[in-house]
């Protein structure tokens, strides 16, 4: 009588009644679905920000590039190198060379204030003074509008990320540097990397403007090959004239973004969990209502001889289907609206702005959908058990 086939067909039919009667309970079902969707939306948004930032950092790094800072400094802001030191670094072994010598760019890194387009509030924007080798080191660099700045002139070029994010970076406008106004003559791309958030100028022009004499903050250089890194590093760290910290570019960027990444991921998870609790209660409430509005139906089915197992599964399935619908709506919307959407946040290491694109990946969407299903399961399991535990005679009276 109660073979597995029979049981399965009970599950299917009981579940089908529940789902067919969903339109009669549209209000509460929609509320719970949207509640779950909201939670998943927050989770996907936050994690896509974190992934986007990681992506930006990864795009920035090249395997054969090195960054050299003063020992003990964790960011370019804090670092300082004299002109002599930058020369000793450029003479290090294992660096790639061209006609003019080794490919090493001593750089200056200062912060200027610009208005953020979205909020119209002041924001810190990095202004980088570069040497000629800078363009050989960032091999994804490309002018996309206007032209390159002239060496020796107070002209700047701006990254496309920076231009999108901040006021006053259009071609032909000027930016305030100290007492002067410097014209924007070009816009550049850098393979989606961090540099796209910066403004670049000739370092020889930036030094006097900031009274830096002949000092710099970092040296970027290109290695002959990724393997020559160790020799370069050993030579620099054992050189008595130098007190510096060489890093692979990837190492440098991940150290720069780690704090931010952890903060965003941690905060995002925290918010998603708190909201998740809310959504669980929402789902619980919906499913209790659903179960009580189906009391007569469920009691009748059980009186006719249906088992309580199928009842449990039916209520659970319904709850998880609602949650799944919520999750999928968000996943599709998030992917359609936010993937590649550009935004900016503060880099905790340099306190300057980092522009990045939301990275709504397939695996992230899967995580969102799974999260929705978990909420749906928890929200459905208690009402389902309650419906199944109630004695048939009692349930029939509660009509």
């Amino acid at each position: 009588m109660a073979g597995p086939f029979n049981w399965l067909s009970q599950v299917t039919s009981v579940t089908a009644f529940g789902i067919q009667s969903l339109p009669q309970r549209l209000g509460s079902s929609l509320t719970s679905m949207l509640g779950i969707a909201g939670v998943v939306a927050v989770m996907v948004a936050v994690l896509s920000i974190a992934q986007g930032i990681m992506q930006t950092m990864n795009n920035s790094a090249s395997v054969d590039n090195v960054v050299v800072l003063r020992s003990g400094s964790t960011s370019e802001m804090m670092s300082g190198l004299s002109g002599d030191e930058t020369r000793f670094i450029a003479e290090g072994p294992g660096l790639a060379r061209n006609e003019t010598g080794s490919i090493a760019s001593p750089e200056l890194f200062v912060i200027i204030n610009l208005l953020k387009k979205t909020t119209l509030t002041d924001a810190n924007v990095p202004l980088r003074g570069v040497g000629k080798a800078a363009f050989d080191i960032r091999d994804t660099f490309r002018i996309v509008e206007g032209r390159m700045f002239e060496w020796g002139l107070n002209e700047v070029i701006v990254g496309i990320g920076a231009r999108m994010e901040f006021e006053g970076l259009e071609l032909g406008s000027t930016i305030p540097v100290g007492q002067e106004e410097w014209p924007v003559v070009g816009v550049f791309e850098a393979g989606g990397g961090l540099a796209e958030t910066e403004i670049w100028v000739d370092s020889a022009v930036l030094q006097p403007a900031y009274r830096r004499g002949n000092s710099y903050q970092s040296v970027y250089a290109k290695l002959e090959s990724p393997e020559s890194y160790q020799a370069f590093k050993d030579a620099l760290t054992s050189d008595p004239r130098l007190n510096v910290k060489p890093m692979r570019e990837s190492e440098f960027y991940s150290s720069q973004s780690e704090m931010l990444y952890n903060l965003i991921t941690g905060l995002g998870t925290f918010i998603a969990v708190i909201m998740g609790f809310g959504a669980v209660f929402g789902a619980l409430n919906t499913m209790y209502t659903a179960v009580s509005s189906r009391t007569r139906e469920i009691a009748t089915l059980r009186a006719l001889g249906f088992h309580s197992g199928p009842v449990v599964i039916s209520v659970l399935t319904e709850s998880m289907l609602l949650a799944l619908a919520g999750g999928i709506i968000v996943a599709v919307a998030a992917w359609a609206v936010f993937d590649g959407f550009r935004a900016a946040t503060v880099n905790m290491a340099s306190f300057s702005q980092v522009a990045f694109a939301f990275d709504v990946s397939a695996s992230l969407l899967m995580q969102g959908v799974v999260f929705a299903l978990i909420i749906g399961f928890i929200g459905g399991v208690f009402p389902a058990i309650r419906a199944a535990r109630q004695p048939v005679a009692t349930a029939l009276r509660e009509l």
Binding site: Q10, F17, R296, A303, L304, G305, P391, A393, L396
Partner: protein
């Protein structure tokens, strides 16, 4: 099980106590009842006297606190929940005061419902449901949803659902309680025909003396016991 004669239901010395919080409600006490096969029994009594409770015990929807309930030679108070559910599916047809049809299913599908618990093929289920609907005179309404049917028609669908499995026992709790006189009479005609022509054993709870008059015997429930007379 469906022996032509003899006693179908034997209830011996049954107590039924409900607990509501710390309070105990003694509904049935030392109750005995024998229902011969093929009888049409009417149960009457004041509201709250335990008529539905007794019907639930006979139909295996509840268990006695004390005593035994035997149906067709089987002690159903000993069965597990799972086996009791299977037993109900096979032996009991239930008719409710408020019909209890599935609103999302057509008349035909409602009637087929109990057959999902059998191993009958889809075609066979459909055929049997059609026969049951024909017996209650509703063949022309088989694709209608409950909300488009009158109360009397819905109750006839309810009866078709109750008889579609050819149960040993038909249990009706105030089947005409929600119907006007005319529809109620039609339902009673139907029950009477099922009893006389097909030999169905029927137990019907009712408040209506006219309805009870259709039965072959009427028992009155009062203060936890049955009697043949309405005692004041």
């Amino acid at each position: 099980m469906t022996q032509g004669s003899g006693d179908l239901v034997q209830i011996k010395n049954v107590d039924k106590v409900f607990k509501r919080g710390s309070e105990e409600i003694h509904v049935l006490g030392g109750l005995d009842l024998t229902i011969p096969d093929g009888e049409f029994l009417a149960l009457m009594g004041p509201s709250g006297s335990g008529k539905s409770t007794l019907l639930n015990l006979i139909g295996g929807l509840d268990r006695p606190s004390q005593g035994s309930v035997e149906v067709g030679g089987e002690n159903i108070d000993q069965l597990s929940d799972r086996r009791l559910a299977a037993w109900r599916a096979r032996h009991v047809g239930l008719v409710f005061q408020f019909y209890n049809l599935m609103p999302v299913l057509t008349a035909q599908k409602n009637v087929e419902l109990p057959l999902l618990l059998t191993h009958l093929s889809r075609a066979e289920r459909k055929k049997r449901a059609a026969i049951a609907l024909d017996i209650v005179g509703l063949s022309h309404r088989n694709h209608h949803f409950p909300r488009t049917l009158s109360g009397g028609e819905q109750q006839r669908v309810g009866i078709a659902r109750a008889i579609v499995t050819d149960p040993t026992l038909l249990l009706c709790d105030e089947p005409t309680g929600d119907l006007d006189r005319k529809s109620g009479d039609e339902i009673l005609d139907l029950l009477q025909a099922l009893n006389r022509e097909q030999g169905k054993t029927i137990v019907m709870v009712t408040h209506d003396i006219h309805a009870a008059a259709r039965a072959s015997r009427t028992l009155y429930l009062n203060k936890g016991r049955l009697s043949t007379e309405l005692e004041e």
